[in-house]
Structures are given as structure tokens and as C-alpha cells.
């Protein structure tokens, strides 16, 4: 039981009167890709934010890599110590920094030595196939390129856990298929434990080992996928 990489135990989250997460428990093994699938407002994004430490759970515990990072309404470890990579729904690329600058901020914040940063940035950009845009600003990129840049930023610090919040919600179908295989390839290459939020069943099936279906703040069912 306890060798799962990520563990949520009876997590409850309320916004004011409303209970967004109701007694949610979840386990994800190391290297696994789990898709969270569900209608809007079912608590997918909130779950992801609790895992990252952007929200604290009102009840329950969160364990990452054997560490209890949050319990009973308190974040024991702030986000920056949790070794997660997060791709936001809005991508949230910093508009005043270049693509390389975006990645550099991540590494510098985590005190990676200056000499090492450049190589790591190049590597991440290459893996996300966005290296030719290193010195472009985010608003000079197309939607798909921005997506890749955000992905590169999320993996540059070699996180233990990759959290993707509907990263494709705004792309057209063709680009989507491309990026799904891209993400799948990246994930296999890195072997990083990944949680992927979507409301698109096909997307979930294409990517995940398991799909958890969320409804009204709790896990309704978990389906094993044939190898993705």
C-alpha cells in the first residue's frame, strides 16, 4: 500500500459553504500516468492544486514520495519543496521572459548552479521540441508552441510528479493528437509519475494507464486502460 508514489487520504476541501472535494482518496504508483476525468466543477482542478500545494486540504492527508506534505488543513511543505511540475490550463507562461528565460527562472529559483542551467534548459527545450524558439517571447508563439514551452518549463527541473491541468483544452483536434503523442513520449522518456486532467475520454484513454472518474468531489470509479 504505502509504496505508492502519491497518496491522497480522505481529502476534503471546502470553498466557503460548498464542499468541492468530498472524502477523496487516491493512490498513484511511481511512473504511472493517471487521468482524472469528469465534468466541469467535479473538483479535478482543485485536486491537482491540493497535490501541488496551491491549496491546502481542509481534512485528510497528502503524501508525495513517502513524505506527508499536507495534513488536517495545513500545508507541511510549500509547493516549491514538493518537486512537482505543473502545466496550467492557461499555460501561465511569464510574458516578460523569453522561453529560455521562463525555464531559467525555474532552475534559478531551485538554486541550480548557473553553469548547469544552460545545459538543462537546452535539454528540456529539445525534449519538448521547442529549442528553436528559446529566445522568443510567449506572445510570439502559436498556441501549440506555447503548449510545448509550458511543457518544457514543467519538466526542466526534473520533477518527481508532473501535473497537467487540461493542457490541450484550447487546441484544435489535429494539434491535440500531435501533442498527446508528444506528452506520451516525454513521459516514457522521463518515467515521471503523471496526473493528467481532462474532460475528454479519448484523450484520457490515449495517455493514461488508469482513468479515475470524478463526480461531485469524489472518485466514482477507476478503470484500467490497456497499455496506452
Amino acid at each position: 500500500m504505502n509504496d505508492s508514489f502519491l497518496r491522497l487520504v480522505n481529502v476534503v476541501k471546502r470553498f466557503g459553504q460548498r464542499e468541492v472535494i468530498r472524502n477523496l482518496s487516491l493512490e498513484v504508483a511511481e511512473g504511472e500516468v493517471l487521468a482524472l476525468l469528469g465534468p466541469s466543477g467535479c473538483g479535478k482542478t482543485t485536486t491537482l492544486r491540493i497535490i501541488a500545494g496551491l491549496e491546502s486540504p481542509d481534512e485528510g492527508e497528502v503524501w508525495i514520495a513517502g513524505r506527508k506534505v499536507a495534513a488536517q488543513g495545513v500545508n507541511l511543505y510549500p509547493p516549491r519543496t514538493r518537486r512537482v511540475g505543473f502545466v496550467f490550463q492557461s499555460l501561465a507562461l511569464w510574458p516578460h521572459l523569453t522561453v529560455a528565460g521562463n525555464l531559467d527562472f525555474v532552475l534559478a529559483s531551485l538554486s541550480v548552479a548557473r553553469g548547469e542551467r544552460e545545459a538543462r534548459i537546452t535539454e528540456a527545450l529539445r525534449m519538448a521540441r521547442i529549442e528553436s524558439f528559446a529566445s522568443s517571447y510567449p506572445d510570439q508563439l502559436s498556441g501549440g508552441e506555447q503548449q510545448r514551452a509550458a511543457l518544457a518549463r514543467a519538466i526542466v527541473a526534473r520533477p518527481g510528479l508532473l501535473l497537467l491541468d487540461e493542457p490541450m483544452s484550447s487546441l484544435d483536434t489535429e494539434l491535440k493528437d500531435d501533442l498527446i503523442s508528444e506528452i506520451s513520449r516525454l513521459q516514457k522518456q522521463l518515467g515521471v509519475t503523471t496526473i493528467y486532467i481532462t474532460h475528454d475520454r479519448a484523450e484520457a484513454a490515449a495517455l493514461a494507464h488508469r482513468v479515475a472518474i470524478l463526480r461531485e468531489g469524489r472518485v466514482e470509479s477507476i478503470e484500467e486502460m490497456a497499455s496506452p
Binding site: 466541469s40 496550467f88 490550463q89 501561465a92
Partner: protein
């Protein structure tokens, strides 16, 4: 048609006095074209000192105002403060109180019986009272709310996810320094420039604190020495400063703001996603970078005490007994009613002209609009004493024009010269919010332009119109630099009345009038706040 009349009005009222002054500055006593006025200007050491003083005063005031205002703006945007709406309004009060009233409060604070001596047990302020430092402090207190409001607005525009994505890897203070601050920097810089321009143009406070700068020198050259040529030549460096700052401000503001850029990207791309998440929005749009509640509350309380309560208390203390205040008010009732009447007339007319100009500006092609914005900003930056002298030169002549010059109308004209650019800028912003499709729909339905404007556009711009009127009234009600020059004998407005009383009446009486002046504008601000609140409820 209507638009061109409004544009002509702007040119006649705002531009002509300035053009006229530049013309006069270039002619000698014999009427021939020469540069005598300028050679005098540049040869005198005193002028260089003036230039330095003006620059130093405006730059320091702008820096200090930003140092106070930007952190307060961040607090308002990010901290979880009690009664934030009212706190914001209270912190704006120094902006609506005319600088010379703030200057009076500053003067009364010092001295052995001043409020500082009473509270601290020692009089620290007196050596500073009449000094450049004093003027810098007074103007910084008057103008910090501009920086505060601009910073708050910019910080609110920063998408929360931009800060959150940084918090995933960085500590909050680092996120604030490296992500939030760079994103709001253009707005903060623009506000600082506008404050610089306002400080360069300010006449009342440096005049009162006896700091010789260009604006006061224009006034002295004209009213004490009757040297029209010198007064006009003095105005030109001021205009140049205003023009430069105006262009720079327009450039910074024109550069699409970074904070907006991020949000715009996202808005376009993720509108669907946003709507889906609408139910969670309240929770999610809250920025992750909030200050400790107690720290924020203490900082806000200190600001409120130092910049709002202390000056008003200093004025009230100087008034002393209530009877004195009453008698002061009674003997000045004429100036008070005069001011109320003229400021209302000025504000109303400036809103009418500003409405047409602003609407025209909002519906303009991009390239021409740049010029209009710039000329409005520059027109607003023209120092009041320069407008005053220009108006005298233009209107002080025999015949009908002289009749107008000799009546209260000239005061309204001076107000309009100062106010129309402000109204037009506010109302252009407001008109831009009205979707052109609404008008097109009405036009397709067969409505005439006038009726579309009156029945579709104006109702949509209601909030902007009220805002422009309030701002115009407040500026007119405190206008000193131009009015003091053009006001006909016996027609003094309240600021002019106070300004002349300062030298020859007991300070208690002056303080009572200054307090009265402040009460009027603060009441108006409170009413406006209530209106805004109602308007918001009405919409939601």
C-alpha cells in the same frame, strides 16, 4: 459636425493661449521677432537655478509618491484587509485636496504649538517648513494616490496563474520581485511620469512654501513685475518638460502592458474553459501572494494616519474654536457660493465637450488616435499659471471679448482649458467600453446619429460621465494657478480667497476655509463612492 465643434472648442480654449504665449515669447517690446526673452532666460544664473529647482522638486516628489503609492497599491490588490473599499477611498483623499491646502496643513503641523510638537513633544518640522524638502513631501502626499490606484489596477490585472506557476518553484518574496513587479512596472512608471508632470505644473504648494520654481516665477514675472515677455519665455521650458513627459507616458502606456498581455492571450484562448470554471472563479482568481493580514493592516493604518488624518487634524487644530470657523465662513460666503457655482458650470461644460471629444477619440482609426491622446495629455500638462497668463493676453482687449474677460465667464473659460483634456481622456476610456455593434444595430434599425448617441451611447457611458464630472468638479473647485491670475476684482473663488487671506488674516480663519474646501470635495468623493457601489449592484 458636432465633433468638429468640440474639437474647435478644445483648440480655442486649450491650445490658443499656449500658442499665443509661444508667439509672444518670440517677440520683443517693439513687436519684431527676436529671441531677447530667451537670451535673458538662459543668461541669468537665477533661471538655471529655477530649472534645477523645478526638476528636483518634480522628480523627488514623483519618486517619493511612487515609493508610498506603489506599495499601498500592492497592499490593496493583494492583502486581505478589512473594509477595503472604504480604506481605498480614504487613502485617495489627499489627491482630491488641493495641494495648497495640504501645504497649509504642513505649515500648521510645525511650530511650538503645532500638532507634531504636541504629539512628539518636540518640534521637528519647523526648520523644514519653508523648504524644497517640505514641498517635495507635500506634493508626494498629494499625488501618491495616483500611483496607488495605478499599481492596484495593474496588480489586479495580473493573472493569478502567472504567480501560481512561479510559486510552484519559488518562494513568495521571489515571485513578487521577479514575476509580479516586472509585470506591473509599466503601469507604475506611467503613473510616476504623470505625477512628475503634475508636480512640474503645480503652482499652489511651492508658492505657499516659498520654493522658487518656474510656475511661481511665471506668476511673479507677470503679477508683480508686469513683465509679460519674461512670463511667456519662462513658460516655454515648462511646456517642453510637460511635452516630453507626456510623450514618454504615452509611449509606455502604448506599449501593450505586459500584465494585460498575459491575460489577453489567455482570455482569447481559454474563454470556454473559463466559463466552465466559472463556479470556482471566486476561489481561483484570488492571488496566491497575499500579505499577512496584520502587517498589511498596520501599514494601511500608518498611511491613513500620516497622510489623511494628520493633515486634516492639523487644519482642525489650527482653527481652534468653532465660533472662529463660523465667522470665517460667514465672511467668505460669497467666495464659497461663487466657487460652487463656477466649478459646477465648468464641470458640466467640460463633460459635454469631453463627451463628444472622447467619443470621437474612441471611434477613431488607430494612427490618428495616437495624436489625439498625446495632445490631450500635453494639454492637461500645461501648467495653470501658463494658461492664466495666456488667457489674459488673449482676452484682455477692448470690446465684447473684454466684457467676457471682466466677468466671471473668464474663470469658467480657465477651468475649461484645464478640464476638457481630463474629461475627454476619461470619457474616451469609457466610450471604448461601449461595443460599436450596439450603435450599428440601432443604425440598421433606422435611427439617426443624434438619437443613437443620446439613447444608446450616453446611457452606456453613465458611470464614465459621472466620474468625469466628479473629477472635473474637484479639479475646478481647487483650481488656483490660472484663477488667481484671471479672476476679475471682487469675483474671487474660494481658493483665490484663501490664497490672498494667507498673508493678511489670522491663520485660524485660513485653516477654517481650507477645512471647508476639503469637506466639500470629501463629501463629493463619498457620494461618488456610493454611486459606484449602487452602479455595481445594479449591474450584477
Amino acid at each position: 459636425m458636432v465633433l468638429s465643434i468640440a474639437a474647435l472648442l478644445l483648440i480655442a480654449l486649450c491650445a490658443l493661449p499656449v500658442i499665443y504665449m509661444i508667439g509672444v515669447s518670440l517677440t520683443g517690446a517693439d513687436g519684431a521677432l527676436n529671441l531677447d526673452n530667451y537670451s535673458r532666460l538662459f543668461s541669468e544664473v537665477r533661471q538655471r537655478g529655477l530649472f534645477l529647482n523645478s526638476l528636483l522638486l518634480a522628480a523627488s516628489a514623483s519618486l517619493l509618491a511612487t515609493a508610498i503609492g506603489a506599495p499601498l497599491g500592492l497592499l490593496l490588490a493583494r492583502a486581505d484587509l478589512p473594509a477595503k473599499r472604504w480604506l481605498r477611498i480614504l487613502l485617495v483623499i489627499p489627491l482630491i485636496i488641493p495641494p495648497y491646502v495640504m501645504g497649509l496643513a504642513w505649515i500648521y503641523m510645525g511650530g511650538s504649538s503645532g500638532i507634531i510638537a504636541r504629539v512628539m513633544g518636540r518640534d521637528f518640522l519647523s526648520p523644514l517648513t519653508y523648504s524644497l524638502t517640505g514641498a517635495v513631501i507635500v506634493l508626494a502626499v498629494c499625488f501618491y494616490p495616483l500611483s496607488m490606484l495605478a499599481t492596484e489596477a495593474a496588480a489586479r490585472r495580473v493573472d493569478a496563474s502567472l504567480e501560481e506557476s512561479a510559486l510552484i518553484v519559488a518562494a513568495p518574496h521571489r515571485v513578487l520581485r521577479r514575476i509580479t513587479l516586472p509585470l506591473i512596472a509599466p503601469s507604475v512608471a506611467t503613473a510616476a511620469l504623470i505625477i512628475f508632470v503634475l508636480a512640474v505644473s503645480e503652482f499652489g504648494a511651492p508658492g505657499l512654501l516659498r520654493v522658487p520654481v518656474f510656475t511661481t516665477e511665471v506668476f511673479t514675472a507677470f503679477s508683480a513685475l508686469y513683465d509679460f515677455g519674461a512670463a511667456t519665455a519662462l513658460a516655454v521650458p515648462l511646456l517642453a518638460l510637460a511635452l516630453m513627459a507626456g510623450i514618454t507616458a504615452r509611449l509606455i502606456a502604448g506599449e501593450r502592458s505586459l500584465a494585460g498581455r498575459g491575460a489577453r492571450n489567455r482570455g482569447a484562448r481559454n474563454r470556454g474553459a473559463r466559463n466552465r470554471g466559472a463556479r470556482n472563479r471566486g476561489a481561483r482568481n484570488r492571488s496566491p501572494l497575499s500579505f499577512r493580514r496584520q502587517h498589511a493592516a498596520v501599514a494601511a493604518a500608518i498611511a491613513l494616519g500620516a497622510f489623511v488624518i494628520l493633515p486634516l487634524a492639523a487644519l482642525a487644530l489650527e482653527v481652534g474654536r468653532a465660533e472662529r470657523a463660523l465667522s470665517a465662513l460667514q465672511s467668505s460666503i460669497e467666495a464659497i457660493t461663487n466657487s460652487l457655482l463656477l466649478a459646477s458650470a465648468g464641470a458640466t461644460l467640460s463633460v459635454v465637450a469631453g463627451l463628444l471629444l472622447g467619443y470621437g477619440r474612441a471611434r477613431m482609426r488607430r494612427r490618428a488616435s495616437w495624436m489625439v491622446d498625446l495632445s490631450l495629455i500635453v494639454a492637461f500638462a500645461v501648467p495653470s499659471t501658463v494658461i492664466g497668463v495666456g488667457l489674459i493676453g488673449l482676452w484682455n482687449r477692448p470690446g465684447l471679448i473684454g466684457e467676457i474677460y471682466g466677468s466671471r465667464l473668464i474663470i469658467v473659460i480657465a477651468y475649461l482649458a484645464r478640464l476638457i483634456p481630463v474629461s475627454a481622456l476619461i470619457l474616451a476610456a469609457s466610450a471604448r467600453q461601449v461595443p460599436a455593434a450596439l450603435e450599428e444595430a440601432a443604425e440598421v434599425a433606422g435611427a439617426k446619429w443624434m438619437s443613437v448617441f443620446a439613447r444608446i451611447v450616453i446611457p452606456q457611458m453613465r458611470a464614465g460621465i459621472v466620474a468625469a464630472w466628479v473629477v472635473s468638479f474637484i479639479l475646478a473647485f481647487g483650481e488656483l494657478g490660472a484663477t488667481v491670475l484671471v479672476a476679475p476684482p471682487g469675483q474671487a473663488t474660494l481658493p483665490v480667497h484663501i490664497y490672498t487671506l494667507i498673508a493678511n488674516a489670522p491663520s485660524g480663519e485660513v485653516a477654517a476655509l481650507a477645512l471647508m474646501q476639503s469637506t466639500v470635495v470629501i463629501t463629493l468623493l463619498a457620494l461618488f463612492a456610493i454611486f459606484v457601489r449602487r452602479e455595481k449592484r445594479f449591474r450584477s
